[in-house]
Amino acid sequence: MTATEPDPRHRMVIKAELAELARLATWAEAFARSARLSANLLFAIQLCIEEAVANIIMYSGAAERREDVAVELMQAGDDVVAIIEDGGRSFDPTTAPAHRKPTTIEEAQVGELGIHLMRSFSAGIKYERRDGRNRLTLRFNPAHAA
């Protein structure tokens, strides 16, 4: 496959480095354009991918081990599904404690804020540990993102 051919699976593999996040955002934008997604849906997709992948890079140990992170985007009827896979430490964001809205600024932890934003902006989150890899599936719905 040459670089100019579109990838039919809409799959992007990046190094576990923060500098790679911008490439993911641009890639998600191109996907949204070709799929004619609304600006609100694109915002939700970009935000959740950013939060999930930034958490992997900062906290999973994948960066130290020079692991890759793979992100896939696909349409499922009106919905969009994003699958994020990494080989870092086992971490299930769906079982992280529910975020209380912080009443003081000291309580606002960045990782916790990210998970809360994923829960708020996606229509559903599923986590699986498969073959030593974390697999996070996020579902996005146009009505939910409106």
Binding site: A44, A54, H99, K101, I105, A108, G114
Partner: protein, 114 residues
């Protein structure tokens, strides 16, 4: 430029952020923003031209507010009713930092009364 700083009326400093405040950019903004928060007592952060705000950027804003509040100052945000405002609302950020849709109200909220 990462952040544009301008002293406006009534001893209020306005900080204008633009474009995408993603994780990478928020890391770059963190230090200059904290320095500014340590320096000033009345800050209005204009997010009107911000298209994207990730949790790290939100945390930078919250930490800045903590520094300003800690010395008896005030920090407020100006933001249109968009997805960035939704990020502030959903995370509880808007309960910790006052958010206004127009600059005049935000300035009035942080300015020290004579």
């Amino acid at each position: 430029m990462d952040l544009a700083v301008e002293d406006i009326a009534e001893g209020v400093t306005k900080v204008v952020l633009r474009g995408r405040i993603d994780t990478t950019r928020a890391v770059l903004i963190e230090l200059p923003f904290n320095t500014l928060a340590a320096d000033k007592r009345a800050i209005v952060v204009d997010l009107t031209a911000v298209e994207f705000l990730a949790s790290y950027g939100l945390r930078v804003l919250l930490m800045g507010a903590k520094i300003v509040n800690g010395k008896g100052g005030k920090l407020a945000i100006v933001c249109a009713d968009n997805n960035v405002a939704k990020v502030l609302r959903m995370s509880g950020g808007s309960e910790l930092i006052p958010v206004f849709e127009d600059q005049d109200t935000a300035v009035a909220a942080v300015a020290r009364r004579a």
